[in-house]
Subunit: 343 residues, 2 copies
DNA sequence: ATGAAAGCGCTAACAG
DNA sequence: CTGTTAGCGCTTTCAT
């Protein structure tokens, strides 16, 4: 049964008693083929165990059916989820995904790009990091191949990109807290240079305004990316501003640190198993890079950056771009989702 | 600058004033080419911005340079790390990775397999799930393409596979505890039907024997995959066996649950910030599917299943198999690493 | 509705 | 050392 030679469309044609072009037409479902012939061909295909050589098809026909992805490092949950969503969406369309990693510093990006080009991909998705002065975009244009950025950073206007909606995420969190009756809300974490943080703060501020609540800039704290610093800041903040009832945290580290800080200060949040010395409770809300199951036990309301949705969206956009050429590039934004804490 | 036609090896040949075969030889570095000609060709390549069409090369030459990976779901950290290691190792060899997801139940596995075959991959790595009665292995053999399994399950002897060394991981943990002076060690978690658990228990038991310590089967507890159940079990266990000084947990859920249980029972572990009612401490050690940064704050010594190493190893084996045909398949085992808790 | 033939871009014999 | 030539497996006009 194990014939050494590879089975080709010629073998199928012979077995079905038709010509190769007929087989090709049946396979791609293009030409008008009588159902009888179609049947015969399909039988032969099944009988011989023929698998179409997609490379040869691409060589002649054009489309390879593969999309390339460049991520910095797949072991980062955000990129893993993004890749998962991308691959899922592509496979639903019968496409395939070439995965490459550009290194945690993005140092191999050009190499990845070139490899993907050489493999004849129909499009490239770059996740993480910006375009170095439009270099990649220029190359992609030269080779007439769709290129799209998908990550948390911002891009020049002419760049096709998919990114999370930071303002909307902040609005989500803020409205949630307000709807729970909180009016004095603080902000913890992030660096002021961060654009992501700026956008989130914008959404936060806008929502406060919308509900007629004041924005206290002295309640907005930067903090280092350590639980220790977050805990320290929370304790200090609450000591000086005891009327605060809720805190929005920039990330899961800040949130966890804040929780420990609250525990230490005797100001716990939610109905956790710990006892509190005070009746008052501080509500915690936070942004998460990704849904984090391990943090289930901390009473925090999360707004998750929808990495998987971003991947799906990137897939949709790059495929659409492949069909409909000469469209104007732009930035597409993907909304966050609220994940309530399971009491 | 944006010429519409694709640049081929012919253009390069013409520009360099040589023949196509010379260019091909320079590109693949095979034939003995005078350095002068080589230089001219490389110049032309650079000047024209030529990118080699790998599909055409594969069509003629055989090797596509791509390896296919089938994982159940990339958003699972174990598979993500595995994929990361695999892709990393492949790219170092100038290979590429096709990524496919077979769905959380593995329901699309056959489809993934077929797609990869059609793309002409040089080998396939299947992560997660076993071979349905050798079906996939048979197909791979028929198409003469290396197939290797990489996951935590066990496989029939004739199957080429890479998996974590569960016994070694258990020995690592057990020896660690013993070296810290623990002699009365309990086991928490997992289901008795699990082979992984059986192997780990084997390593645990063997190490106890080796150090002349008794194995108490009544200190080995099954438990549900919830923190709640783990906590409950720990409390009950310690109530009835107050001399126990250490617990090995089957996974991070059991470990986290155990920690909460210890806190509740007033038997905390490590130098955490909580107060204890008793002087005695219970040491916690556990197996982790993957290094979990979020759990840094729980005082547990982890043995991590080296997902990334498994990916790397799978890459090495499948590439080697590609070169050296007709080797006997077998199971390769990858050691775990100890991750001590950062006091 | 189907067949014949001309390549896609590249590599691998052979010649020179 | 380098050029000529014949395809790899498939798609796609153009005939029939």
């Amino acid at each position: 049964m194990a014939s050494s030679r590879r089975i080709t469309i010629n073998d199928v044609a012979e077995a079905a008693g038709v010509s190769v072009s007929t087989v090709s037409l049946v396979l791609s479902g293009k030409g008008r083929i009588s159902s009888a012939t179609g049947q015969r061909v399909n039988d032969a295909v099944a009988r011989l165990g023929f698998v179409r050589n997609h490379q040869a098809a691409a060589l002649r026909g054009g489309q390879s059916g593969a999309i390339g992805l460049i991520v910095r490092d797949l072991s980062h949950p955000f990129y893993a989820d993004l890749a998962a969503g991308l691959s899922e969406a592509l496979e639903q369309q019968g496409r395939m995904l070439f995965l490459t990693q550009s290194g945690s510093g993005g140092q191999y990006r050009q190499r990845c790009f070139d490899s993907l080009l050489a493999q004849g991909v129909d499009g490239i998705v770059i996740a993480g990091g910006g375009d170095d002065g439009g270099l990649l975009r220029a190359q992609a244009e030269q080779h007439q191949i769709p290129l799209i950025f998908a990550s948390r950073a911002a891009y020049p206007d002419e760049t096709e990109a998919v990114r999370p909606d930071n303002m909307q995420a902040a609005r989500l969190l803020t409205e949630h807290l307000i709807s729970r009756g909180h009016q004095r809300i603080a902000w913890l974490g992030g660096r002021s240079a961060s654009l992501t943080r700026a956008e989130r703060l914008g959404g936060f501020c806008a929502t406060l305004m919308q509900y007629g609540l004041p924005f206290h800039s002295e309640w907005v704290l930067e903090c280092e990316a350590t639980q220790r610093d977050a805990a320290r800041q929370v304790v200090a903040l609450l000591r000086h501003n005891p009327t605060i009832t809720a805190i929005i945290c920039h990330d899961s580290i800040a949130a966890t640190g804040a929780w420990f800080g609250l525990l230490r200060a005797g100001r716990y949040s939610g109905e956790g198993g710990m006892e509190s010395y005070f009746d008052s409770q501080i509500a915690l809300a936070a942004f998460a890079g990704v849904p984090e199951a391990a943090l289930d036990d901390i009473p925090v309301t999360w707004a998750t950056a929808p990495a998987r949705d971003i991947g799906r969206s990137a897939a949709a956009h790059i495929l659409q771009w492949g069909n409909d050429r000469a469209k104007t590039p732009g930035c597409h934004t993907v909304p966050a989702r609220l994940v309530l804490h399971q009491g």
